[in-house]
Amino acid sequence: MSVLSFFMWCENSAIGDAIRTSKWLFPFIEAVHLLGLAVIGGAVLIVDLRLFGLNLRGQPVAQLARDAQRWLLVSLAILVPTGVLMFLSEATKCYYHPAFWMKMSALLLAIIFTFTVKRKVALADEAHMRPLWYKLVALTSITLWSLVGIGGRWIGFS
C-alpha cells in the first residue's frame, strides 16, 4: 500500500467523511487546535526565554522546565488528536501540499529535540552549564517549533 493510497483511505474513512461534510466540525476542531497552539507556545517560550536569560532569571531552569513540560504534554494531547482529525478530512490535499510535509518533518525534529537534548540540558546542574549551550538550545527549540507553527498555518493556504 503506497503512502498516497493510505492517505486516500484516511480521507474516505467514516471520520474523515463526517468532518468534511459537516459545516461546523472542521472550524470547531481547528479552533480547538488553535487553543492548543497557544498553550504549547507558552510552554515552549517560557523555558526558551529563560534559557536565553530573558525572563524569570531568579527561577531555577530545571524546575521551570519540569513545570512547563507538563503543559507541553497537555498541549500535545489537544493538538495531536485535533490535528489528526483535520488531516483525516483532507488527507489527499495534505499529500500534495509541501507545507504538510514541512510541518511534519519539523514536528518530528522538534519533538525529538525537546525530549532529548533540550530536556537533558534544562534538567542538568546549572552550575556546570555554559550560558552559550542554553542559548543554542533555546534558539534551536524556537526555530523548530516556529517552523511547525508556520507550516501549520501554511497548510490552510491551498
Binding site: P27, L34, I40, N55, W71, G149
Partner: protein
Amino acid sequence: MSLLSLCQWLANTSWSIGIHESRYGYSIIESVHVLTLCLFLGLAVMLDLRLLGVSLRGAPVYEVVEQLLPWMKAGFAVMAVSGILLFTAIPVRTYQNIFFRLKVIMLIAAAVNVWVFHSTVYRKVADWGTSARPPRRARIAAGLSLALWAGIVIAGRMIAYNWFDCDRKQSAVMTFMESCGPPAPDE
C-alpha cells in the same frame, strides 16, 4: 456618524483597499495574528496557571507577573495592530459579523477582569504572592481569563465563516444582533 458609516468610510480608504487587494498582504497579516497567540496568549496561560496554583508553584506570583508582562505586552501589541489591520481590510462585513461582536464583548470582559484583578486582590500580592495556592479571588480571575480567552480564540476563528453574514438569509434575531439593515431589493 454611525459605526456602520464609519466602517463604510474605512472600507474606501487606501489602507483597506490596499490590504484587501494585495496578493499576500492579508494572508501574511493573518498568519502573524494567529502565530502571535503563542507569545501573548501562551504566556498569559502560563500566568493564569500560576494564579490557579497548578504550575510554577515555587515562583512568587509578583515575579512571574513582572517577568512575563513585558513579553505579553509586546505580544498583545502585535495582536492588536495585526487585528486592527485585518478589520480595516474588511470593515463592514466584520463589523456586522456575529462572531466579531461576541469577540469584542469577550475582549472587553477580559480587560475588565484584568482591571478588577489588578485593582483588588493583586494590590496585596506581597501578602500571598509566595504561597503555592493563591487566594480564591485570584484563582477566579485566572479561571475567568482562561475561559474568556478560549472564547475569544474560537470566536476569532469563526469570523472567517460567512454562515451568518447579512447578505445571506438570516433569522430575525440574527438580523437584529448583527444590525443588518433591510435586505437588498433584488433578494
